[in-house]
């Protein structure tokens, strides 16, 4: 009787069981990792969306401000402010002007002047300009 009972007892195949458990564990981990990655992907996506929205908002703000600046520095607006006395035009004296001489033609002395506050140089620059235009 005892002999029969011993014969019908199945042995636990530890190796096989371990392999299965490891397989299932790996599969579960892969699944969890997939879910984790997917969540991360969504989270990063949300961050990207947020950043894009912020960038767009900044761009829109920038555009709005630029348009306001353009309007407030337009000739019509400034003229109105001038007429209303909010701003004033001061004439610039001729002696306070720096004239940029033409870049290509040099003066007779061969010196190529770029800018000058010297009245004599200004006359020279004007003369050379006239001679070119003729």
């Amino acid at each position: 009787m005892n002999g029969n009972r011993r014969r019908t007892t199945n042995t636990i195949e530890v190796n096989f069981l371990a392999r299965c458990m490891v397989g299932v564990f790996l599969l579960a981990m892969a699944g969890l990792f997939f879910v984790y990655l997917k969540n991360q992907q969504h989270a990063v996506g949300d961050q990207i969306r947020g950043i894009q929205a912020a960038v767009r908002e900044a761009e829109v703000d920038n555009e709005s401000l630029k348009a306001r600046i353009t309007t407030m520095t337009s000739r019509g607006y400034l003229q109105r402010k001038l007429d209303e006395g909010y701003i004033k035009l001061e004439p610039i004296r001729d002696t306070a002007m720096a004239r940029i001489t033409p870049a290509v033609p040099a003066d007779p002395d061969g010196i190529l002047r770029t800018a000058s506050r010297d009245p004599e140089s200004r006359v020279g620059a004007g003369a050379s300009q006239r001679s070119i235009s003729r």
């Binding site: 969504h42 969306r49 829109v60 709005s64 348009a67 353009t70 309007t71 019509g76 235009s133 003729r134």
Partner: protein
């Protein structure tokens, strides 16, 4: 025992069958019909989000912004997402500036797309979204949009034009270059969650918009401001039916300033009347009067029919031809070509025309660009009116010589006068310098060579005398510069035929410095309600030209040529001008 085994076998078989059916269905859903179900799901949650291309700006030649965009939002509603229209309306109404009742009515819909409000500022739109999120409401969404503004208001309105509600160009450069300015909208295929937020992971195909090109005009706003200011003053003082002023570079054909009165504010185009929107510089034709004498003089000289020394008998002011009497304002005997232009003799001009073959004369009129569109990129340009030779009657030739029986546009006249100024080349007018970054619109090229340089120089010299004390336009003088030009005084044509008494279109077309022209200008004053004895080009238009040209020369920092001016001005302050 066998019975139990059979039952187990049947049970197993049933289970296998059931699971096979489930598996089969699963395979059908997940594999075979995957694409179709995916599309259905996608259709439900995905949308093709348009990405609007920014409309290009319009700039002057120095980069000053003339037309720009302000970003705004369009608020739309998805009726299928709205559970409590009244609550949503109560939250959103203050931001949209719509009465709550009215908004509630609009939101009580099942339509998935309803435009609720356009042109909502970014601040208010974002405030509304935050308020909705705070109240845990949904159903209102934002779309990107923009509105076009013209910072200089009415300045340069006839060139810039305006856009309609949808942002499409309706008039001016906005219309003719609409394709370049508009660019191409892009799109992005996205999927959204039940709150309407984009699920980034499922972002699909994306095509970025092709932004509209910035258009750089040849207009110089410094010069434009000078022209506008003077034209405003003239319009206010004389109250004419209309006025036009144009400044151009005679050597390149570039239009530097262009203004017409009456005008309008393109920011409020809905309030503008058609009369205000009409660009008189290209869509109005007028009989040019004596300014047209440059054509007959140039033609006769170029053909060798007359020369510098030829003297023409001007019948002491009364010339009978074709059964009609042709009169000069001041009777003269023999006059040279130069004197005919200086004194603006109708008889002298008519006699020069009569010496020419009809076809040759007609060809010269066409060579100066009359009778065809100049090609300026603005809508509504007309070609003027030059009758072909076979339609001429006996008097046409003599009338044309003094600027009657022919109709021109102001831009045509500017280009014709530029031909004399630049040595005989008829230039094609140019209004656009570049279309977009890096692009350059074809450089200025002459449309044709109308007359020889020698002829042009002679006529130009004669036109300098027009601005002398003996000429018809001493008031066109500009301190420090030699001016060459021609006055024009033409009676207005009646809609019933014939001419209207005491109603004139007066003009002055001139250029300076005469020796090396840098600037060409035309001023036209249409039907100013002033006495006929004072309504002449030399009295009305020439002073306006003088003020514009003087300020323009200072603006352009062109050095005055004192010696030349002394010669032209003489004792101007003491002598009374002879006008015609």
């Amino acid at each position: 025992m066998r019975g139990i085994q059979a039952r187990i076998a049947v049970l197993c078989l049933l289970l296998v069958l059931i699971y096979t059916v489930f598996a089969w269905r699963l395979i059908n859903l997940q594999v075979r019909d995957h694409d179709s179900f995916s599309d259905i799901a996608s259709d439900k949650h995905s949308i093709k989000l348009p990405i609007q291309a920014k409309r290009g700006r319009i700039l002057d030649r120095n980069g000053e912004e003339l037309a720009v965009n302000i970003p705004v939002r369009t608020v739309t509603a998805d009726g299928t997402h709205i559970k409590d229209p009244a609550a949503l309306a109560a939250v959103a109404a203050p931001f949209l500036e719509i009465p709550v009742d009215e908004l509630t009515k609009k939101l009580s819909t099942q339509k998935p797309y309803v435009v609720i409000c356009k042109r909502v500022s970014e601040e208010k739109a974002q405030g509304m979204i935050r308020a909705m999120e705070g109240a845990k409401l949904r159903g209102l969404y934002l779309e990107e949009s923009s509105i076009r503004i013209y910072p200089n208001a009415s300045m340069l309105c006839h060139v810039l034009g305006f856009v309609d509600q949808s942002g499409k160009g309706v008039d001016g450069i906005e219309k003719t270059l609409d394709r370049e300015l508009s660019g191409h909208d892009g799109f992005r295929k996205i999927e959204h969650d039940r709150k309407g937020r984009e699920i980034m992971v499922y972002r699909g195909q994306e095509q970025l918009p092709e932004e509209g090109a910035d258009i750089r005009l040849t207009i110089d706003m410094g010069l434009q401001a000078i022209v506008e200011k003077e034209l405003d003053a003239t319009f206010k003082e004389l109250r004419p039916a209309g006025a036009t002023a144009i400044l151009a570079d005679p050597n390149t054909g570039e239009i530097l300033a262009l203004a017409c009165r009456p005008n309008f504010d393109p920011n409020k185009s809905n309030d503008a009347k058609p009369e205000q929107m009409r660009n008189r510089s290209i869509s109005d034709m007028y009989e040019p009067g004596s300014t047209f004498k440059i054509v007959v003089a140039s033609a006769a000289l170029n053909e060798g029919i007359v020369d510098e020394k030829t003297r023409i008998y001007c019948e002491n002011g009364q010339f009978s031809y074709g059964g009609k009497i042709l009169k000069d304002h001041h009777g003269s005997g023999d006059l040279s070509v130069s004197e005919i232009l200086m004194k603006s003799s109708n008889i002298g001009s008519a006699k020069m025309a009569l010496r020419m073959d009809d076809n040759v004369y007609y060809q010269y009129v066409r060579r100066f660009g009359f009778g065809e569109k100049t090609g300026l990129p603005l809508p509504g340009e007309i070609s003027g009116l030059v009758n072909p030779v076979h339609k001429w009657d006996m008097l046409t030739k003599t009338r044309m010589a003094m600027g009657q029986s022919v109709a021109v546009t102001p831009v045509q006249m500017v280009m014709a006068m530029s031909t004399v100024a630049n040595g005989g080349h008829l230039m094609k007018p140019r209004l656009v310098l570049s279309k977009g970054e890096g692009s350059v619109v074809r450089e200025s090229v002459p449309a044709s060579d109308a007359i020889a340089r020698k002829t042009a120089n002679f006529v130009a010299t004669a036109l300098e005398r027009v601005v002398s004390d003996q000429g018809t336009a001493p008031l066109a003088r500009v301190d420090g510069f030699t001016v060459a030009g021609k006055t024009g005084t033409a009676q207005k044509i009646s809609s019933h035929g014939g001419y209207l008494n005491d109603r004139y279109i007066v003009s002055f077309a001139g250029f300076l410095p005469a020796e090396a022209p840098r600037l060409m200008g035309l001023v036209i004053v249409d039907d100013a309600p002033i006495a006929g004895s004072a309504n002449y080009g030399g009295l009305v238009a020439a002073p306006v030209f003088s003020r514009i040209a003087g300020n323009a020369m200072r603006y352009l920092d062109i050095q005055p040529e004192s010696a030349a001016v002394m010669a032209q001005s003489g004792n101007a302050t003491t002598s009374a001008p002879v006008i015609r």
